[in-house]
Symmetry: C2
Subunit: 623 residues, 2 copies
């Protein structure tokens, strides 16, 4: 019998004999599925996805051994073991195709000062090792080193740890002496069966107080393969860093509990990235991390007692390298985790990531960069000096502590406009039914309510009676009040309910923007500059892609500057983490940045409180 097999995403169909393996069928349409063990069912890497759940032989025992239950549940099969027994449709993930060598740096460096040379910390080399004889009598490691040397590797200093040595004799013979060596610096960290040179991945992590984001990057091409984010589950111990540090310090098992939460969510993100991409866990050989100083201590499980009290001393500001296994991160067990350096106090590796991604300090002119998160970092550079501070903004702009707030995900209102006739124009991520409001939507809503006078310059929401005759009736009717929410404004509604913004939400926004604005004022004063001197204002953060410059200016989170001086740069801290992931030079640059940035402490600055009080106020409305 012959059956039809359709391959996606190519959309090509071919007819094959019953019993043909998927890998053979793919060859007919000209797609080479990468199979390091040469189709012997040993390496578990030639993964494809069975789209319809029919037309293939039952899952073999070997596949059950090599694929996790989660992957099997998602339809993953090994193409050398899956055989056609009926019409079927197969999806080939990019990770299973032999790469074409295309460099995919799009979106990686929005403001880079030049091309980044790919120079990941881990490299691979495929070699054929000569079998030993009684005459040669070389050890397994020496034989491998001889083959590596012949292929051009410098091996005289190459060292192998116990884990690799314990596996080497078996792998070498399993692979018929054809293996891929995985190296980091002068250390042999892995030996894989067959040629796996094009399977080398890294994980970049941005551990935010409220949101944790992971990006899986192909270290051969530099391209991002998949991205995934989750709320930071440490939030159950407090929404801000201070309450979490307090928990860690005051409870006996506090640090362990907070550490488990963040490690757990990172492993969840890794699982998601694996399922999204088809990349196997063992091919993830490197990890870089950014996050503020508190996240740093909690993730690395370093007692944060002295970070929480004056003079706010972190245990370490140098970059930290530690085995992924030791940190509990479930990627290749020999992977290293590189936490980018901290500056001082709460100005952590996330700020360093922003500076790295934006090239601040190497850019001419006076540039202000703010990274809007639960801790808001403010960086000011005049091209020579770079100053930074950290403000406790709270999570309002990440959608937390806001009645209907949510992160930038499908269903989130990310843009909000009030037309002259009083009609409302909203954009919802994924064009879905609105279910909540993300950061950029919160910006817009507050800005628009300020513009039309529903909110006054003190942040007070006006009642219907105060606005009678001044606004279209349709707008006035949106102002409501009930016991649960107090005074509120109806932003939108879905089939079931109203989506409100409340007086309380406005106060959260005031606190957040007030803190960041005060940080900006302090730091500008420290450098002796004024808003008019600013050449550029860069706004970073994970608040959706539709942030309107007018809204940012209206709510006053940044000083008044011409609109064309403002740029939104997305999650720049994460971009910094990715740059450090694909380039060892960028790790060095990050280290240089952390040492050269001047830290501006706010906690003991008497002017900060004054600026903060002023910063919470809004400008006058237009109407």
């Amino acid at each position: 019998m012959r059956y039809k097999i359709t391959f996606q995403p190519m959309g090509k169909t071919v007819e094959v004999e019953e019993g043909t393996t998927v890998i053979e069928a793919a060859k007919i349409i000209g797609v080479t599925i990468d199979s390091p063990c040469a189709g012997r069912g040993r390496c578990g890497k030639c993964r494809v996805i069975d789209q319809t759940g029919k037309g293939l032989n039952p899952i073999t025992d070997q596949e059950k051994k090599l694929l996790s239950p989660q992957l099997l549940a998602r339809g993953f099969r090994l193409s050398c073991l899956a055989r056609v027994i009926g019409d079927c449709e197969i999806f080939i993930p990019a990770a299973s195709q032999l790469e074409t060598g295309k460099i995919l740096t799009s979106g990686l460096i929005p403001l880079g000062t030049g091309e980044i040379k790919l120079s990941p910390a881990v490299r691979k080399r495929f070699v054929r090792v000569e079998r030993q004889t009684l005459q040669t009598q070389t050890s397994d490691l020496t034989s491998l080193k001889i083959a590596l040397k012949a292929s051009g590797e410098k091996v005289s200093e190459l060292k192998a740890g116990l884990d690799v040595l314990r596996r080497l004799p078996v792998i070498l013979r399993d692979a018929d002496f054809e293996v891929t060596a995985v190296m980091r610096g002068d250390e042999l960290i892995g030996v894989e069966v067959g040629n796996t040179e094009n399977r080398l991945y890294g994980l970049a992590l941005d551990i935010g107080t409220t949101t944790v984001v992971g990006s899986l990057v192909n270290l051969i091409t530099g391209g991002e393969v998949a991205v995934s984010s989750e709320m930071n589950p440490q939030a159950v111990y407090g929404g801000d860093v201070v309450s979490r540090l307090t928990y860690a310090i005051e409870r006996e098992e506090g640090l362990d509990a907070l550490n488990e939460k963040v490690v757990g969510v990172i492993n969840k993100i890794v699982d998601e990235l694996i399922i999204l991409s088809g990349v196997d866990r063992e091919s993830i050989y490197d990890v870089t991390v950014v996050g503020n100083s508190a996240m740093h201590h909690l993730f690395l499980k370093i007692p944060p007692h002295h970070l929480a009290v004056l003079p706010y001393v972190p245990a370490v500001s140098d970059p930290v390298d530690a085995p992924a296994r030791k940190l509990g991160i479930k990627v290749n067990e020999m992977a290293n985790v590189h936490y980018l350096p901290n500056v001082a106090g709460f100005v952590g590796a996330d700020a360093v990531g922003v500076i790295l991604a934006t090239g601040l300090g190497r850019r001419k002119g006076l540039t202000l960069a703010i990274d809007i998160g639960t801790n808001g970092e403010v960086v000011l550079s005049n091209g020579e000096r770079v100053m930074a501070c950290s403000t406790a903004a709270g999570p309002a702009f990440e959608g937390a502590n806001i009645t209907r707030g949510m992160r930038a995900a499908p269903g989130a209102i990310e843009s909000f406009r009030i037309k002259e006739n009083g009609e409302i124009d909203i954009k919802v991520i994924g064009n879905n039914t609105p279910v909540g409001i993300c950061g950029s939507g919160i910006f817009d809503i507050v800005a628009e309510l300020l513009r039309i006078g529903v909110v006054d310059s003190s942040g007070r929401m006006r009642r219907r009676e105060e606005l009678e005759g001044k606004l279209p009736e349709a707008l006035i009717e949106r102002i409501v009040e009930d016991e649960t929410h107090g005074l509120s404004f109806k932003v939108a509604r879905n089939e079931e309910e109203q989506i409100l913004i409340t007086q309380g939400d406005i106060r959260q926004v005031q606190l957040a923007k007030g803190a960041i604005r005060a940080g900006i004022e302090v730091i500008m004063k420290e450098m002796g500059v004024k808003a008019d001197d600013l050449d550029e204002v860069l706004m970073a953060g994970a608040f959706g892609s539709y942030l309107h410059k007018e809204s940012a200016l209206r709510i006053g989170i940044i000083p008044p500057v011409p609109k064309d001086k403002i740029r939104f740069i997305g999650n720049a801290a994460m971009v910094g983490a990715k740059m450090a992931l694909i380039s060892s030079d960028m790790r060095e640059e990050a280290r240089r940045i952390a040492r050269s940035v001047q830290y501006v402490p706010l906690a003991t600055n008497p002017e900060f409180q004054t600026y903060f009080m002023e910063g919470m106020l809004f400008g006058a409305s237009e109407i």
Copy 2:
């Protein structure tokens, strides 16, 4: 009330007021007991031994926390917490006294080619760290590095692992910012409270097939502090390396079981060394190991499958460095274990240790060295080329597989002579009642029985009737026969029983010496030299210190050479391990040796079998 306190080993007595601490009392007689925490009962290092169990206050809770139950059972106390409440006698272990800086290399390098410069892999530096302020804002690690730099350490590349970072904030403040940094290369591996610069110890291990020896070395002075040995409990899985490798390969948990045995006995030896010396476990920061290739794989838990079959390929011949913690060795958890390099086949790090200790390859003339153990290593050097082979001698010369064999310990007959009048002259270790026979005694007994004709040149023991009239009656009466032992010779007796050497024991000796002699013949032939060409014959092994050259020559374990060419050099492999422990240069030298030595395989050498058959024979008797 005033009481007398006597200090040992000084033998000095002083009278003090009731309640005086031992550390204060010692000061009066001019002995400064080292107390890094300045007598605050925090560091647990000012250990003394209560010799009489009376005259001191009851053990305090803090002592129970800082001293193990084993140490407490042995009378250990902390001199800053132990107070005089009656007459007492106190022993101060060397480890608790402030060192005088004397270099104790005696016995360390029997045949070294020069002075060894002390350059251990780990170093310590005491510093006073400046407390941070809001102005300085330096992290704990940076503050420590600044202090280290001021004291002359190169710190720009100094890295700290997660374990140290996790402890640093707490230790720094516990110590009031006065700490000792422990460094290995460019890595910060420890931070200790107070000044502990003179407490730095290393452990040298010789893992023999039959005997495991540990030596505790003071890395500041180079002197040996204590030594301890135990039988290798892997013997329950077979006395020789082949049966152990077979067990490791054929049983699912075989490798784990063998590994557990050797790790267990090493930890037992460490416990003994700690009790013998008073050194605290945490001060042992480095470990070096020698042993044959099979012991190497079993200790490091590397699958030995390919070592056991042709062409006998070890996984690694380079030196292996691994964390002590990972190997389960209970010393400081940041200690490194350095297993010296292997040559090839079964010629392992023990042979490298012998070559290092004897300076073979750098010595002029033709030198033969044999290391008599269960695997007997044979090394031949003409001053330029060095050749080595390994023979399966069996454990006879370590006292195993011999009816009354035992290791060189109190009660062992280590020397045996038959006088002209037939009287027997024996030496027993410790002048104790004889309970068994150690290696040197076995050498002597077999040699003497050969000399007087009780054993013939084929190794057969003669019956009484064959010797009538040729030997004094007293000797003839010592020849006995029973069902259990067969034909035997009464060597000595203690109060309870006879100590016999049996026909079977003689056969074990023949096998052992035949194998080693055959190895010598093969290797001499390979180099194209004869016995007459030999300038020196070095005999190493753990067989007691009374080995007689005549006995070695008589039983023919070595070729016939003039007596003055023979030297006994003790446990040279262990000396090599100690040299590598106190000197990084010697580690490099060991690496050079392992690469340059020419391995001579015996297993497939057809002449080896012939030499072995010949080698088992003895020469003619004198009588």
